[in-house]
């Protein structure tokens, strides 16, 4: 078993020459390394942090912000082995087929391949996130109780599964969970406390020549510098840092690597999770517990029901993805009580046992090139320019969700099972209720065409022969599903491709 190698113990100016350098030891980097463990190639997994939180390393993530209020850049991610999986929520759900398609009226939408290209990789991704057997939308048949009677229409009950919790450890922390596997793999060398500070291209810009690596000293300043000269390189530093390293590595390509068309850092996205977006009333009494809590079913998987727009409804109306969760029971005000009584009487149903709930949701954002990361003049302790995020939210993003909820309200009335109140109608109300998934998406978007994407369908940076990107920064459109299961599946697909190019 190899130990985790600490870069701070290497002599300065060491040159390492792996077949493959993976920059970043989060879910993407770890999944990739493990998938290639038996490929026979020497793999160097370069991780900025150690195996636990260290403030000086974390502060390398700090940055500036403008626009809509958003999580601080060093607050919504973690910089040590396992990356942000050290504080993720473990919510898992595959992207929907529609998320991959070009959608009418949704500019910049569509992936260069369909959902079927990811299908072969989901089973293993599901194992890696430890979310149990693959059930998702087959869960209706497994759970104890009936799904909400929505009747026919544009909204249906869909399902999340959850990464396993063990003892006091919440969902799978990729670092601690897979540290043993990384150490056991003969061909993987995990290099800790090693910060990539530059990706240096050959003079013609066609290949990565080497990576600059720096370590931090005890005082949080730059310590040793050394070099990695890989045959191939995968950037897996998370949705913000991937863009930062490409933009900052501007010695050969003046606008940064992969940025000939000014796309790196643009189209940043997240899944907003506004609170208390709607009030759901079920005339017949309480909803089953699997709507309110993550609920284990008999043979293990933990599930939670949510409300989602059908693909047909999304295509017809242009609504974006959304996943609405039932949060907690609520009391109705006088108008609410009057609305329920009057509606139930008009429909001829008994609402004596009616129960009201607050809904929350996770939303998909429309791609926006102005929601972007740029470099600032300020530098971190290792000399890398810091990031600035300009965050935007368009009214369309809110209107779209309202339309979905209104459709759900219509369905409930048609089925005579319940009704809905849409809680927000102004931008100010939405913004006041806003929270974030901290799912960093889109900043190195994928497209077969170099004019509209940073990476191609194989996740290779356009124009650079041996540089690939792993993680949700390659998602060109986002869906409402949480990204990790999907980015792990994407990474496993990349691993298959790398097996052929490394050979």
């Amino acid at each position: 078993m190899t130990a985790l190698l600490d870069a701070r113990t290497l002599p300065a100016r060491t040159i390492l020459t792996p077949d493959l350098a993976i920059i970043g030891g989060g879910p993407a980097g770890i999944s990739l390394a493990l998938a290639l463990a038996d490929s026979g190639h020497e793999i160097l997994l370069i991780e900025s942090g150690g195996t636990a939180f260290e403030a000086p390393t974390q502060s390398l993530y700090a940055g500036e912000q403008s626009g809509v209020a958003y999580t601080a850049l060093d607050g919504g991610r973690l910089r040590f082995l396992g990356g942000s999986s050290n504080h993720w929520g473990g919510w898992c759900r595959p992207l929907d087929a529609i998320d991959f398609t070009v959608r009418d009226g949704l500019a910049h939408s569509g992936w260069p391949f369909s959902q079927t290209a990811l299908q072969p990789y989901y089973a293993r991704a599901q194992e890696l996130v430890e979310a149990g057997p693959w059930i998702y939308d087959g869960a209706d048949k497994l759970v104890d109780g009936d799904v909400a009677g929505l009747g026919d229409g544009g909204v249906y009950t869909s399902w999340f599964q959850f990464s396993k919790t063990r003892g006091s450890v919440l969902p799978t922390h990729f670092g601690s969970r897979y540290e043993g596997d990384l150490k056991a793999a003969k061909k993987i060398k995990p290099l800790m406390h090693a910060n990539v500070t530059g990706i240096r291209l050959s003079k013609d810009g066609g290949r990565v020549d080497h990576l600059d690596i720096a370590t931090l000293n005890a005082a949080g300043g730059a310590d040793k510098h050394f070099t990695v000269k890989p045959r191939f390189c995968v950037l897996a530093c998370g949705g913000m840092e991937n863009a930062r390293l490409l933009l900052a590595s501007s010695d050969v390509m003046k606008n940064g690597i992969g940025n000939s068309h000014d796309l790196v850092g643009r189209f940043f996205a997240d899944n907003p999770i506004p609170r208390d977006t709607a009030t759901l009333v079920m005339f017949d009494g309480p909803l089953p517990g699997f709507y309110l809590n993550s609920s284990p079913v008999a043979d293990g998987p933990v599930l939670r029901a949510v409300f989602a727009p059908t693909a047909q409804f999304a295509r017809r109306t242009g609504v974006l993805g959304s996943l609405s969760t039932v949060e907690n029971p609520v009391a109705l005000d006088e108008l609410g009580k009057a609305a329920v009584v009057a509606t139930a009487q008009a429909l001829g149903v008994n609402a004596a046992n009616a129960k009201a709930y607050a809904l929350g949701c996770g939303l998909e954002l429309a791609p926006d090139p102005d929601r972007r990361l740029t470099l600032t003049g300020e530098r971190d302790a290792l000399g890398l320019p810091r990031l600035k995020l300009n965050m935007t939210l368009s009214d369309r993003d809110f209107d779209s969700y309202r339309a979905t909820m209104k459709e759900m309200g219509r369905q409930l009335l048609a089925a005579r099972t319940g009704m809905i109140r849409l809680n927000y109608s102004t931008r100010a109300q939405w913004l006041a209720a806003m929270d974030w998934g901290n799912h960093h998406l889109g900043t190195t978007r994928m497209s077969a065409d170099a004019r509209t994407g940073v990476v191609d369908a194989d996740c290779k940076v356009h124009g650079v022969g041996n540089l690939f990107v792993a993680g949700s920064s390659v998602f060109p459109t986002y869906g409402a599903s949480n990204p990790t299961l999907n980015l792990v599946a994407m990474t496993l697909r990349l691993a298959d491709h790398l097996k052929t190019v490394l050979a």
Partner: protein, 112 residues
């Protein structure tokens, strides 16, 4: 003597009470609300109070205009409210998504 007076008082009292009751009946009708020219519509509402509360949350509208609309064939409260959602006829009242027909009846209840 005493009992005679009592009987007369009693009969008069009863008569008065019946008269007041009849007057109230003719004024309020069986619902306990004052009679209106729109009772053929309003009497379709089971509990008027919640409908009025709902209607008051909507913009004010003319009861004559509303009643003209609701007296069209096919606008019975129960039947049409049940059909509204399936036909895509829903409206928002301070965020509450309700059948359009119910909203019109509620608006009328609040307007009279």
């Amino acid at each position: 003597m005493t009992s005679k007076i009592l009987r007369r008082d009693f009969v008069m009292g009863l008569g008065g009470a019946v008269a007041v009751g009849l007057a109230a009946w003719s004024y309020f009708g069986p619902t306990g609300y004052p009679k209106t020219p729109f009772d053929d519509l309003l009497n379709q509402i089971i509990d008027r109070a919640p409908a009025i509360t709902l209607g008051k949350a909507m913009p004010k509208a003319s009861s004559t205009t509303l009643s003209e609309k609701l007296r069209q064939p096919g606008f019975a409260l129960r039947k049409r409210s049940r059909e509204d959602a399936a036909a895509g006829r829903v409206t928002e009242i301070k965020g509450w998504v309700v059948p359009e027909t119910l909203a019109l009846y509620a608006q009328l209840a609040a307007a009279v």
